[in-house]
């Protein structure tokens, strides 16, 4: 990319940018096999896409609807962009048996939860019971959602 006049950001290696004649910028974001192009100029975007096509085989998905598992909703009139993870969240809820019948709670946590090592299982029966539960899988899925 640097041969095409693009500069790689020193602080985030996934970002490349190039200054256009009208002082605006075109940005190219790469993340493994996901790619996003952002610019005010449609002509420049098409030019960059043509350039990339000569070097790699790539699939054109049009306006960005999703990036690394997050959905993108744009409202051009209001000038807003929303990122959601609805699909991923629905998938993990389904996987761990939370369905339409479950009543949602309105707070992320309640004060009566006091977590410490002292509430770890003590008896063998308790240990056996906990071993059947996918605790680590759930926590892992939640941490993935978080970052």
């Amino acid at each position: 990319m640097t041969e095409q006049g693009y500069t790689r950001s020193q602080f985030d290696n996934c970002v490349y940018f190039h200054k256009l004649l009208d002082d605006s910028f075109i940005y190219l974001l790469l993340y493994v096999d996901d790619m996003l192009i952002a610019s005010k100029s449609k002509v420049e975007i098409d030019k960059l896409k043509a350039q990339l096509r000569t070097e790699f085989e790539m699939k054109e998905l049009g306006e960005a609807k999703e990036v690394i598992g997050k959905e993108i909703q744009k409202d051009r009139r209001k000038g807003t962009v929303c990122l959601t993870q609805t699909q991923y969240l629905k998938k993990i809820l389904q996987r761990f048996g939370v369905d339409g019948k479950t009543k949602p709670v309105s707070t992320p946590l309640a004060p009566h939860f006091k977590l410490s090592a002292s509430i770890s299982p003590r008896t063998e029966k308790e240990c056996k019971h906990m071993a059947q539960i996918l605790y680590i899988n759930v926590v892992g899925a939640l941490i993935y959602t978080m970052v």
């Binding site: 929303c82 959601t84 709670v105």
Partner: protein, 152 residues
């Protein structure tokens, strides 16, 4: 993560039930002509929030164009002796991130002179501004005084 008990599982279930009601909620970014002034940080800490080792929890978030872009909530690696100290260490962590984010957006040619970081502890703010030097803060390691240097 290991040795989880019934209480831990109850908590995780509660979180799942909460998420169940909020799957449609997401991050919203609003375009603004005054783009430059918009990288803002918010800091808070939970003093001795970890019941096992009494370490504090550090949390901070940065917003750009009215939406959050970088956030972290983590157990501090050292034990803080006061809320001020917990907050002070959190500010340090946030500043480190702020420097990186500031440089990143500058690289992307979003011009911003400085980054505002908000903190709800007056005593931590005073400590950063070097208005008090209390004997209780003496043991805070030199690395945390790096915050003062940035303020200057």
């Amino acid at each position: 993560m290991h040795d989880s008990g019934k209480g831990h599982w109850q908590t995780v279930k509660w979180i799942l039930w909460y998420i169940h009601g909020i799957t449609n909620i997401g991050l919203k970014f609003e375009g603004d002509d005054r783009l430059g002034q918009n990288l803002v940080g918010y800091v808070d800490s939970d003093y001795a929030g970890d019941l096992d080792k009494r370490r504090s929890i550090a949390g901070y978030m940065f917003t750009l164009v009215k939406g959050p872009i970088s956030w972290r909530s983590t157990l501090q690696s050292t034990v803080a002796l006061s809320t001020t100290e917990a907050e002070y260490m959190t500010v340090t962590e946030a500043f480190k991130d702020a420097i990186w984010l500031h440089e990143l957006i500058e690289d992307l040619r979003i011009v911003q002179k400085h980054v505002d970081v908000h903190c709800d502890s007056q005593s931590a703010i005073c400590l950063i501004k070097n208005q008090v030097y209390h004997s209780r803060t003496k043991h805070i390691d030199v690395q945390f005084h790096f915050v003062r240097e940035i303020m200057d």
